[in-house]
Symmetry: C2
Subunit: 289 residues, 2 copies
């Protein structure tokens, strides 16, 4: 990315705010514009020098930016994408951080103005907003990137990919993985969206368990906090809802739970062996590579 570049970040929440803070630290020469509907988020980001100037969406000078990063919740992001793309210079670079990529990349491919490189940093916490943002959120994280679509020719698209890679590398990412949007969405179904939905269903079960709920809260040890941590991120649901693989995956998970319920009643010994095996598979899965 040119040392004199100007970048806009739309949505100064946990992800957008952290990206601004990380780039400010790693690339102090970069002009960073913040865009948010919440004036307090803009004020806070200005006061911490995460951004050089703050704008509402309508007033933002996207036509003067080399790169725009969309970092709003998923549903808003789908709606913003064509609006923002239309206001950018032809051949400027548009990217995003949404956890579902297929529908967004399809949408971005319908316009021929900005070059869109879909991105998804695998990082987050259960907290939200600029108040939770920090400059090391992306340290050592993996970022998924999808092939450029929309405007530009082959060469400018390759340069756009390099620019987006450089942004995430500057922000601290360790691994940049290029993949097509469909493969991405199928993978995050298991890596993120299904765990999220299950965590949410468990919180729902607990909050509606009547008399048992009060005692369950007393007895909920760290395991409950961890298992339901993803449920604390209400914005994940937006991405899960944009993921076309989710409904079928959730139904399959429901079938698995029914099978496990049957096994508790009919074959507890066989169940125990299978559970030990899954515990082992998880350990192997999480071994550092």
């Amino acid at each position: 990315m040119a040392a004199t570049g100007r970048i806009a970040i739309v949505g100064l929440g946990l992800i957008g705010g952290s990206l601004a803070l990380a780039l400010r630290r790693a690339r102090p020469e970069l002009a960073i514009i913040g865009v948010d509907v919440d004036p307090r988020a803009l004020e806070l980001a200005l006061s911490e020098r995460a951004i050089d100037a703050g704008y509402t969406l309508g007033a933002a000078p996207f036509d003067k930016c080399d790169l725009v990063v969309l970092a709003t919740p998923a549903q808003a992001l789908m709606e913003l994408l064509p609006q923002v793309a239309a206001r950018m210079r032809a051949g400027a670079i548009l990217t995003d951080v949404c956890g579902a990529k297929e529908k967004l990349c399809n949408e971005a491919g319908l316009q021929m103005n900005a070059i869109f490189v879909g991105g998804h940093p695998m990082a987050g916490t259960e907290f939200r907003g600029f108040v939770a943002a920090n400059p090391v959120l992306f340290a050592r994280c993996t970022v998924a990137l999808c092939p450029a679509v929309g405007g530009g020719d082959g060469r400018s698209r390759r340069e756009a990919m390099e620019t987006v890679r450089a942004v995430w590398t500057a922000a601290g990412a360790r691994r940049l993985l290029e993949m097509n949007p469909e493969d991405h969405d199928r993978a995050v179904t298991y890596a993120s969206h299904l765990p999220y939905l299950a965590a949410t269903a468990i919180v729902d079960a607990l909050t509606t368990s009547g008399d048992a709920a009060a005692l369950a809260r007393e007895l909920a040890a760290g395991g409950f906090r961890d298992t339901t941590r993803l449920a604390g991120d209400g914005t994940l649901g937006g991405a899960a809802a944009l993921n076309r693989f989710m409904p079928a995956a959730a139904r399959t998970l429901a079938d698995r739970l029914r099978t496990l319920a049957d096994q508790i009643e009919r074959d507890p010994d066989g169940l125990q062996r299978r559970l030990e095996q899954l515990a082992e598979e998880r350990r192997l899965m999480l071994l550092p590579r």
Copy 2:
């Protein structure tokens, strides 16, 4: 507990081993006997002075102990309980650490020799065995205790409860909650067993997701590790299988997942509102009290 007491811990895994280490530190005058089928666990516990002597089950001098703690996996614990109780002095105290209490307390109530006080420390990690044991595992944890059953009269049963409370307080527990076994099992259904089963089903879904699995592992960020942490504890399944509320709860969770899958397709906006609400309810639930 008398300063000259002798205690036996059956099963020197994460929980039993940690209890031995914690009591050694807090009550150095206590004689601690370790019982395990694995000679390496006994050796390691002896070498760290967690226990004063190690025995196999057949050779253990339960008749010379004031208190015996059963800390084996759940299924073995159900089988051991009457055998160990029969070998104890009449009126000596038997307790356990199992995560399901109703069936165990019923079993213990069938004998009239030892006084049985069911216990369940709300602590654990995803690691297992004495190699994972540590003297602060129970620091600030909550322990559920069930009313004494089996041998003894009203007074000796009250004293037995005080003794078991003193053991856990010495081990570092912050809150001791007395409750009946049925209430306990219903509560841990939501606090622990259902989250465990869901975590396991997700690991199962991922390991059998074919082509998506490899990429999903690459993209699995901290959220996946946390959400499935409980699945790493293969022994939790034993307790879940002893919990009579589990099959119905697992089926209800399956129904919830199906409803969520339908909502992704039919009412993503309503779903998003509900998910934000559940994220908020979880936050309130986990607020320190």
